[in-house]
């Protein structure tokens, strides 16, 4: 019901461009991050059976604040909350993500690390690289979220009812001999490329 409400308010359309919404594959979905709505919207845009197997990675400092957010994060989104500062061996974000993967969950992560207010994507953090290298069997699916920064930009409290769109691209993987920076740059480019897709290009004559 909450997913339905989020879909209604943001009018979100999911476009599976490079892959199908399969529950048979364990995946890490990695997306651009511009709004506090990103996590709820990605979560709501997934088909029901897929949504039940996905755990979004989210910032502890934000989602632990207040009972409503805590309830949403833990009970509704079943998020894996991670620390963004004061990282020690005890609260290493990778440990929590690894545990969720070991449970068979798919993950949603925002490798920019924080909400971006520029037009261009921020450099990706290294977490994606570490997970990708350790688990080559898991598909890495680039995701682009569109219009969320206009529906609820950073620092705003009023929602504007524009239509959001979520595009799921073709999975990528670490290639032989690729180093961390190369891989992260390629992952970032995969998300950026999804933003540039022209719907009109492939089929001209459909009504």
């Amino acid at each position: 019901m909450i997913a339905g409400l989020i879909r209604l308010v943001t009018g979100v359309r999911a476009r599976w461009i490079g892959c199908e919404p399969l529950t048979t594959h364990q995946r890490i979905y990695f997306a651009n991050h511009t709004s506090n709505l990103d996590l709820p919207v990605i979560w709501a845009s997934l088909p029901d059976d897929l949504r039940a197997r996905v755990r979004p990675i989210a910032a502890q400092d934000y989602w632990e604040r207040g009972p409503l957010r805590r309830w949403l994060a833990h009970r509704v989104f079943r998020a894996v909350l991670i620390a963004r500062s004061g990282i020690t061996a005890a609260n290493n974000p990778l440990t929590a993500m690894e545990a969720a993967l070991a449970d068979g969950a798919s993950l949603v992560i925002f490798p920019e690390g924080t909400r971006n207010q520029d037009d261009e994507l921020k450099p990706f953090k290294a977490g994606l690289w570490h997970l990708a290298r350790k688990h080559p069997e898991i598909e890495l699916v680039p995701v682009h979220l569109e219009n969320l920064n206009r529906i609820l930009p950073k620092g705003e409290v009023i929602l504007i009812p524009l239509l959001a769109q979520v595009r799921f691209g073709a999975p990528i993987a670490v290639v032989e001999g690729e180093d961390k920076d190369r891989f992260l740059a390629r992952a970032r480019a995969a998300v950026a490329a999804l933003a540039e897709i022209d719907e009109l290009a492939p089929t001209e004559a459909t009504p």
């Binding site: 009018g11 207010q117 930009p153 504007i160 009812p161 719907e199 009504p207």
Partner: protein, 318 residues
């Protein structure tokens, strides 16, 4: 609103039966075609046709219900349509962070206020509120944050969307408040006439185009529009409109002229909304209506037809 005279009740019954008949024919034709066609492309077309027909049943039921409910329900329906259309159009028009609060006012203040004016029949205000007050407001509000980058382009997009999606569309339910001598209580038929002719013209252009369309009118803007479809659709929808003169305050020839104006403006609206889509690199405004696309894909032809018809009616019989 005064009670409709007895004759009009019969008119409404006939018009309703007519629409039901059309829907039944479309449903039966779709069912038969589905059994007959074999090729891959034709199957897809027929499937889309049947999906569209099913959506038409819903749209006719909702529109008919609102029309029967009176000015309040009609204003509410068109307010929701405007809201949805504005949502679709602003979603594809780039704005900046500085426009966030402007958008809030447009969606949550301008749209409801305009339709309150329409609902209570304050024609003077309904005609100037958006072009004067809301225009100035939007232009001013977007300067307040001090961000001047792309200012004119941003504000122009917002004002264009507001004019098309809210102001122009609101002329359709505004027909209900027109005071036409000797036609009291019959205004719902005018709104019905407008919507029927404009949508029928769309459907007939599609049908004629599918049957004998060869020469494209604007291949870059709207690849499916052909000269054959355009002429066939305009002529046949005008004929239907003229044939309905008995339900309107128009003489037969006048009804034909009105219907012609509606179909031509409807065609123009479709081309313009298509150009906006092409510019934005999208195929449809949304997927709210199965088989049709977004709300804007369905009402594109109403955008220009509604205000022009409203003023023609005011000029000739108001």
């Amino acid at each position: 609103m005064s009670l409709p005279a007895e004759g009009l009740v019969t008119d409404a019954t006939w018009l309703t039966l007519g629409v039901l008949g059309l829907l039944l024919v479309a449903t039966v034709v779709g069912g038969v075609l589905a059994r007959v066609v074999t090729s891959e492309g034709a199957r897809a077309t027929v499937a889309n046709l049947r999906e569209r027909t099913r959506a038409w049943w819903w749209m006719c039921a909702i529109f008919g219900g609102a029309l029967a409910g009176g000015a309040g329900w009609s204003a509410l329906l068109f307010a929701l349509v405007s809201f949805a259309a504005l949502r679709e159009m602003v979603s594809i028009s780039p704005t900046r962070r500085a426009d966030h609060r402007t958008l809030f006012w447009m969606f949550f203040v301008v749209v409801p206020l305009q339709y309150v004016f329409v609902w209570i029949g304050w024609q003077g205000m309904a005609m100037v509120f958006i072009p004067v007050y809301a225009f100035c407001f939007v232009a001013i509000r977007s300067t307040l944050t001090g961000d001047h980058r792309d200012y004119l382009a941003r504000v122009a997009r917002l004002l264009f969307a507001q004019t098309i999606c809210v102001y122009f569309i609101s002329h359709a339910p505004a027909l209900l408040a027109l005071d036409i001598p000797g036609y009291a209580g019959g205004n719902a038929t005018l709104l019905f006439f407008l919507v029927l002719v404009v949508q029928l013209s769309d459907v007939l252009q599609y049908v004629w185009g599918k049957l004998c369309g060869r020469h494209r009118i604007a291949p870059h803007l709207s690849p499916n529009k052909t000269w054959e479809g355009f002429v066939g659709g305009v002529v046949s929808a005008t004929a239907v409109g003229a044939g309905l003169w008995w339900a309107t305050p128009f003489a037969p020839l006048q009804a034909a002229g009105m219907a012609l104006a509606i179909t031509l403006m409807g065609f123009a609206g479709g081309i313009v909304m298509s150009a906006i889509k092409r510019d934005a690199g999208i195929k449809d405004y949304g997927d709210t209506i199965p088989g049709h696309g977004g709300i804007m894909d369905r009402i594109d032809s109403l955008c220009f037809a509604a205000p022009v018809f409203y003023h023609l009616v005011r000029f000739y019989v108001g």
